[in-house]
């Protein structure tokens, strides 16, 4: 039983990262109509910024400020990418955005590999979150519990921002008809830039959260992003809540598979993706284009 709970927890943790990443992808796809293949590289950058903020002699401000600073730094980097490159893709086929962002991902990963190699660098768990709790039925490492709860809070806050606030109404409306929203007096291009910043900021946040669990490596995002795209395909690109729920659910399903049939744990998400594509090609919560 202990092992089952442990795998469930691992599943929830992976689910947290899936949810944060697929949420950002969904937001970006909605506004920019771009399948952001650079998402994994930006997640990795988030972890690296956190690493510098912990280990650099001049910048060492630690884990907690990194939770805010890393998403902002990577968000600004993302906004520069959007202003200088992605904005020119408006109106073009998805393929162009996919290729451009894929190229950006390769370049970013290449640069980091050049300076840091491919092996992982350890990132210490912050003192306040060290140790664990005995819950009676299982032992819960506090940091892992923190990651799950904090990710959930961030996901729900993002959902609230988009679905329940005035700013979110602009965002949803501009996703449907950017020309008309602009003709109402809203600076839509600026909103698109900020949305891309928000989406990659969420990826960077996931990177910071994962640093103490998965080590900091230039290819940490490249490995993860393939699964996240499967999650996005299963959930459907369009829906915010859909991508959050699918993210967590698939993490848990993966964890359960590790317990019941470990051989399939690496492929279960992709098998599900194939099944969903056969039955409902737009994804579980997606709408037909």
């Amino acid at each position: 039983m202990q092992a089952l709970y442990a795998q469930l927890l691992v599943g929830l943790i992976n689910g947290s990262f899936y949810a944060l990443l697929s949420l950002g992808l969904a937001v970006i796809f909605g506004m920019l109509n771009i399948i952001n293949f650079a998402h994994g590289a930006l997640y990795m950058m988030g972890a690296f910024v956190a690493y510098f903020l912990l280990n650099n002699d001049y910048l060492s401000i630690g884990y907690w400020p990194a939770l805010i600073v890393a998403p902002i730094v990577v968000g600004i980097f993302g906004m520069i990418l959007e202003r200088t490159m992605l904005q020119w893709l408006t109106g073009l086929d998805h393929l162009y955005g996919l290729l451009l962002t894929f190229g950006i991902a390769l370049i970013v990963q290449g640069v980091f590999q050049n300076y840091f190699g491919s092996s992982g660098m350890p990132y210490a768990i912050p003192d306040q979150l060290k140790g664990g709790m005995n819950l009676g039925f299982m032992f819960l490492p506090i940091y892992r519990g923190w990651v799950v709860i904090f990710s959930l809070v961030v996901c729900i806050a993002t959902w609230f921002l988009i679905e329940k606030t005035r700013l979110g109404a602009y965002l949803r409306a501009a996703t449907e008809n950017p020309t008309l929203v602009r003709a109402f007096g809203v600076n839509v291009p600026r909103m698109i830039t900020l949305t891309y910043g928000l989406g990659v900021g969420l990826a960077a946040l996931a990177g910071v959260l994962s640093a103490p669990i998965n080590q900091v490596r230039p290819l940490m995002g490249a490995d993860l992003i393939i699964v996240v795209f499967a999650v996005v395909v299963i959930g459907g690109m369009g829906s915010i809540m859909g991508s959050i729920i699918t993210g967590f659910a698939l993490g848990v399903i993966e964890g359960l598979t590790k317990y019941f049939y470990p051989e399939a744990s690496n492929t279960v998400v992709f098998v599900l993706m194939v099944l969903v594509l056969l039955v409902k090609p737009t994804g579980l919560t997606g709408k037909a284009a």
């Binding site: 005035r166 109404a169 449907e176 008809n177 008309l180 602009r182 003709a183 109402f184 007096g185």
Partner: protein, 248 residues
Amino acid sequence: MPDTAIAEAPAKAATGGTILQVRNLEAWYGESHILHGINFDVNAGEVVTLLGRNGAGKTTTLKSIMGIIGKRTGSVKFNNHDIIRTTSDKIARMGIAFCPEERGIFSSLDVRENLLLPPIVRAGGLPLDQIFDLFPNLKERLNSQGTKLSGGEQQMLAIARILRTGASFLMLDEPTEGLAPVIIQQIGHTIARLKKEGFTILLVEQNFRFASTVADRYYVVEHGKIIDGFSNAELAANMDKLHTYLGV
């Protein structure tokens, strides 16, 4: 130049000065050249209607004024500012509001969000209670999904949401299209009331009968040009010509 002779609006005691002056407006959709030099004026406080057959360039004229047609040349002066190179968000903030033909109600927003979406661009917009007074149906359906409304209600919502922004120059593109006669009448009353409130309205209409109940002046658009213009008083005298223009 005959074009400009048609274009110049007669100065009337009932209306203010020229608020919109369009000269030699040309516009393109991609490679297709749609407007070939549009000339007309709108005075403050007037309801001016652009008449013409399908594809004549009426909607494109409104969209070019609003700044949402990519390639446009000529001059569009609003309150003496040339806005031909201005982006649509800035044009909106100068006080022009646009209600598109397809209404543009957002399906992912409820009625309240749709209504409150356009930002306030200046003081002087209608307060919400006056808007609900004009369109009582909307108040009852505030929490419905925008596109769940009937066609008539969607049209009312599309007009209502631009009334609270403070824009005093409204462009309505075929507000009666596809609606039942009783709703058309209600929209006619609304336009008359908006005129009384001091709004200036540029209307595009296929429904000539409807236009004649609200408009002060008419311009006829054909092949991307204004080919004629007359006031409501001259309407009877121009009836035969108009039938030929519109093919009705």
